[in-house]
Amino acid sequence: MTNDEALRAAKELGKFRAFSIRGHAFDRMEERNADQKDIANALLTATKASHEERNKWKFSGGVDREGVALGVVVAFDWRTEVITIF
């Protein structure tokens, strides 16, 4: 998957909220006062995708529903999972 393809996939995930959230990511959401709709918005508005290890991608440049910068790391495994936010 190229960076552009990953970014397109992220926007689809955000649009349909078609992702799962890992327990660690949920803890980070509590710290950041973000909820799953904020993550969907951050994926929808992400402007940059960069490949991490294996099938993990980091999406940055997006914002939560209040316009605050929110980045998301997603694993495209048998499930599409949000691993953490930053």
């Binding site: 992702f19 799962s20 694993a75």
Partner: protein
């Protein structure tokens, strides 16, 4: 919930040691108030123990937690807690102001940032919509879009056998 794939590698710890479905502990914070839900059955990684939940399922957990936080806390929530509730309803400050009968978003902004007590009547108005969401009478995910389109709070389904009228003042 997604189908459990026991061969799958855990995306958190990169180990494939199977998945066990058991009750997870999900703690949701509403300012000074926390709600712990121990009844959500989720797949846990057999190696690291981390769990996974679908976004839409998490929304249901959050709505139920918000109902409990408002209903079961003496005096209710403070501004920080009600900000979390507003976000669960998916509304902007302006939309939430309209929903509970305030003129302007600034009123909600002041309440959310201040330390003073958040009016119980507004909390109960939010509870009214949250519980309608739990009962499936309204789709809370669409509440914001609906308010954007109509500019008003959505009407809830009513019992057609009951006719409600209001007398005009003489």
């Amino acid at each position: 919930m997604n189908q459990t794939n026991n061969e799958a590698i855990c995306s958190a710890c990169n180990v494939s040691s199977g998945w066990i479905t058991r009750a997870a502990t999900i703690k949701k914070r509403f300012g000074a108030v926390s709600v712990v839900d121990r009844g959500v059955m989720l797949p846990h990684c057999g190696a690291c123990g981390d769990w996974s939940i679908e976004a839409k399922a998490l929304e249901v957990v959050e709505i139920k937690a918000a109902v409990a936080a408002i209903r079961d806390t003496v005096g209710g929530l403070n501004g920080e807690g009600m900000k979390v509730v507003r976000k669960i309803l998916g509304l902007t400050q302006a939309q939430f102001a309209k929903l509970v009968g305030y003129e302007a978003a600034e009123n909600i902004s002041r309440l959310e940032s201040g330390d003073r007590e958040y009016p119980r009547a507004i909390q109960l108005a939010a509870l009214f919509y949250l519980e309608a969401g739990v009962r499936g009478e309204i789709d809370l995910h669409l509440l914001s879009d609906e308010m954007k389109q109509t500019g008003a709070a959505p009407a809830l389904p009513h019992d057609a056998r009951l006719e409600v009228t209001k007398e005009r003042a003489a």
